[in-house]
């Protein structure tokens, strides 16, 4: 990593967001460099089409620029928050509906070792491991709900499982991911 990259990497998200609130475009560029891959990857996973994923990517960062106050650094970290609102926005696109949740109402509690880049990469491996380790029916229910935006009723209709079973699997799947970081 060059000295310049080290310097940019040392600017924390809170400082960058303050600069964005003051109208600093270059700070927005740094945030884009930092989080565009996560935002794009999540949108692409949900939408399955690069053009639509790129549109969501633009949309999310424009929203951050227009309404930086929508993110409150006292209530969570920027990366996970972006990941969640990206997933929600992409699902809205799939469902062809207007955004249902005000982004400033989305509060994301982050596992402590998800904040830095290196930690996040390690966490990604852990999450993928946890998904692979889940009973297939649980993983499928969780991924259908999360990445396809299907309701438990729709999942039950597709899989033939009881509604209650699907609900239990979705929650149990999320809790299993939490346990990866809090064994």
């Amino acid at each position: 990593m060059s000295n310049a990259e080290v310097k940019v990497a040392s600017i924390n998200d809170e400082a960058l967001m303050s600069a964005v609130r003051a109208g600093d475009e270059s700070a927005m560029g740094v945030l884009y460099d930092r989080y565009s891959r996560v935002v794009y990857s999540v949108a692409l996973r949900v939408l399955g089409e690069t053009g639509a994923a790129e549109d969501v990517l633009q949309d999310i960062f424009m929203q951050l620029w227009r309404n930086p106050g929508g993110f409150d650094s006292r209530r969570g970290s920027l990366g996970p928050w972006l990941a969640v609102i990206t997933r929600n926005r992409a699902i809205d696109v799939v469902r062809k509906r207007h955004p249902e949740t005000d982004i400033s109402d989305v509060v994301v509690s982050v596992h402590p070792d998800m904040v830095g880049d290196a930690e996040r990469n390690r966490a990604m491996e852990k999450v993928r491991g946890a998904l692979n380790g889940m009973p297939p029916a649980q993983r499928i229910a969780l991924e259908m709900a999360y990445f396809e935006g299907l309701s438990h009723t729709e999942i039950a209709a597709k899989t033939g499982d009881a509604l209650g079973t699907v609900k239990t699997r979705i929650r149990a799947g999320l809790l299993a991911l939490r346990k990866v970081f809090n064994p």
């Binding site: 003051a22 460099d33 424009m62 227009r66 969570g76 509060v107 982050v110 999360y146 809790l175």
Partner: protein, 254 residues
């Protein structure tokens, strides 16, 4: 933390945004009343973020960044919107008003000071970002270990080249030289700003390194001078106040 079990599964669906109708309304009503379940909702969204990261790995097209920056530049400049507050959050404040005017005055002063501190912090953070960006640019331009590459037409031997970037109103100048030949120890190259009117103005003395590269960053120049051209001569090592030899390189503004 005690999550109410009757809401536990619906909370997960609510976090996913897939709860509708009466079930959604019931969860929202309960969330307004239950701090534990609000905390659990935040944790569930943390779990969702974790799950989102399992999808990471794709790289957006290169054009996306420029598309975003272009779109930002087209946006009207805006001021920060005030943070949203719900009406009930103001109730204690009104109670304080009723109790004592002094408390209000103190609160008002406090609030003003906090705003000033927040403004100063925002300004300081912005300046920190701008300063670091500027330092990065200068560090790259002046790094002794920087790779300097001059692209020329194929099969053309490398020619001495100089690139001057000049901002008149700031009197700011960056000059980058490449493929310059070596000079005797007591000589140096001198850059000159040729103004529209008047004599050439010294704009920095430099000696190229072993690879023929050199950089001049912000030599002392009077601000506001209209530059007709830039020129280079060979001068004594300490530089000259006026050119003492023939111009060996010359370039006019584009």
């Amino acid at each position: 933390m005690a999550v109410h079990e009757q809401y536990a599964e619906d909370l997960a669906l609510y976090a996913m945004g897939s709860l509708t109708g009466d079930a959604r309304a019931a969860v929202e009503k309960h969330l307004r009343e239950c701090a534990d379940c609000r905390e659990e909702l935040e944790l569930l969204r943390g779990d969702m973020a974790t799950l989102a990261y399992s999808a990471a790995g794709s790289v957006p097209p290169r054009r996306s960044r420029q598309r975003l920056m272009d779109a930002i530049q087209r946006e009207p400049r805006r001021k920060e919107a005030p943070s949203r507050r719900t009406w009930w959050a103001a109730v204690p404040w009104f109670a304080a008003v009723a109790m004592t005017v002094l408390a209000v005055l103190q609160m008002s002063q406090n609030s003003g000071l906090q705003r000033q501190i927040a403004d100063l912090r925002d300004r300081s953070d912005t300046q920190q970002v701008q300063l670091q960006r500027a330092q990065e640019v200068v560090a790259t331009l002046t790094a002794t270990d920087a790779m300097r590459v001059t692209l020329v037409a194929a099969k053309t031997p490398p020619q001495p080249q100089g690139k001057a970037i000049y901002v008149r109103d700031r009197g700011s100048l960056i000059f980058i030289a490449s493929n310059f030949g070596p000079l005797p120890a007591d000589k140096a190259y001198e850059l000159w700003l040729i103004p529209s009117k008047g004599n050439p103005i010294p704009a920095g003395v430099f000696k190229p390194d072993a690879r023929g590269s050199a950089t001049v960053v912000n030599p002392p120049l009077p601000p506001g001078v209209e530059a007709k051209a830039f020129a280079i001569t060979v001068e004594p090592e300490a530089g000259s106040a006026a050119p003492t030899s023939q111009v060996i390189m010359l370039g006019a503004g584009e």
